[in-house]
Amino acid sequence: MIEGLRQLPWFESAARDEAMSVAMFRNCEKCMRDYPRSQRQEMACGYEEPIAGALAWRHRGYACDEETQPTTCPGYTTRLPEVIEAARAYVHWEKGELGSFVGRKPPHRHLLTLVEVVAGEANAVNAWKMRNPKKEGA
C-alpha cells in the first residue's frame, strides 16, 4: 500500500508526459495476455510470485535507495483499493473537505497517514518537474 501510494503520483505523471513508457503497466489484463509469466515476474508483477532480481518500474525522479526501491509493479500497487481510496481522499483533503469524504470528523488515523503519503509524493513530483522542465518539442 505504501509503495502504491508513493508510486501513484509519479505513475500518473508519467502517464501524462511519457504515455508510451508506461502504457504496458496501465492495463494488467492486457499485460497478462501479451507477456509470458516469466517476463512479468521479471517486471515484478504483483499478480505473480516474486522472484529475485525483479525490477519494478519507477520514475527517474522517484527518491529511493537500494533498500527502499519499489518491489512491485505500480500497475498492481496503484490499483489496490485502499490506494485508490486514499487518492480520492487526497483530492478532498486538498480542498479541506476530508471530513465530508469520510462522513465523520475526525478521519481515521490510518486514512490520514495514507493521504499524507500521497501528498508528500505529489509535492515531490511537482518539485521534480520544476527542476526538470519539459524541453520544447519534447
Binding site: 500500500m1 504483483g46 481510496e85 495514507l114
Partner: protein, 165 residues
Amino acid sequence: MLSPPSAFRTFTICWSRDPALCLPDAPLEPTGDEAVDKKAQETWKEWDERFKRHREMGTINDLIQPGQQPTMFEIKPMSSMAMRRITDELNAQRIGFAVAFALGFRACVRGVVNFGEFKVTTSKHPTYGDLADEGIVNALDQLDPGIVAELGDYCFTRARSPSPK
C-alpha cells in the same frame, strides 16, 4: 455484498479455507507420505499467496465456486486504542497470541453474512472498547479455530500499519 478493503469504511473478508472457494485439491493434514505432503505444502503455499493477492485487491469473487457463497465477515478498521491495549497486554504477557488475535477480530468484526441465522452483537468492554461479543468466536471455533486466528491476524496486522506494498 463483497466490498474491497478500505482504510476507514466497513468492508468484507472471508476465510482463506472457506469451502465455497475454489480450494486446491490437496490434503490439508499430513498423510505420512513425504512426497505427497511436500507437494501439498507447496500447493497450499501457492493458494495462500493467490488468496492474499485477491484479498488485497478486493477480487475474492474470482475465487468463488460458481453458485456458491462464502461466509463473509463485515470488518471495520480497528480503533487505535483497541490496538494499543491489545499490544500492551500481549507485550506484558497477560494474554497470548491466541487471545490477542481473537480480540483483534472482535474489535473489527461487525457483521457476518451467510453463516446461518447468526448475528454479530457488540458491547463495550472496559479495556478494549467496542467488541463483538464472544459468541462469534465460539461459533467459528466450532468449525475451525484457524478461522479466528487467520482473520484476527489480518485485522491486527492492518491496524499496526499499512502494508509496505
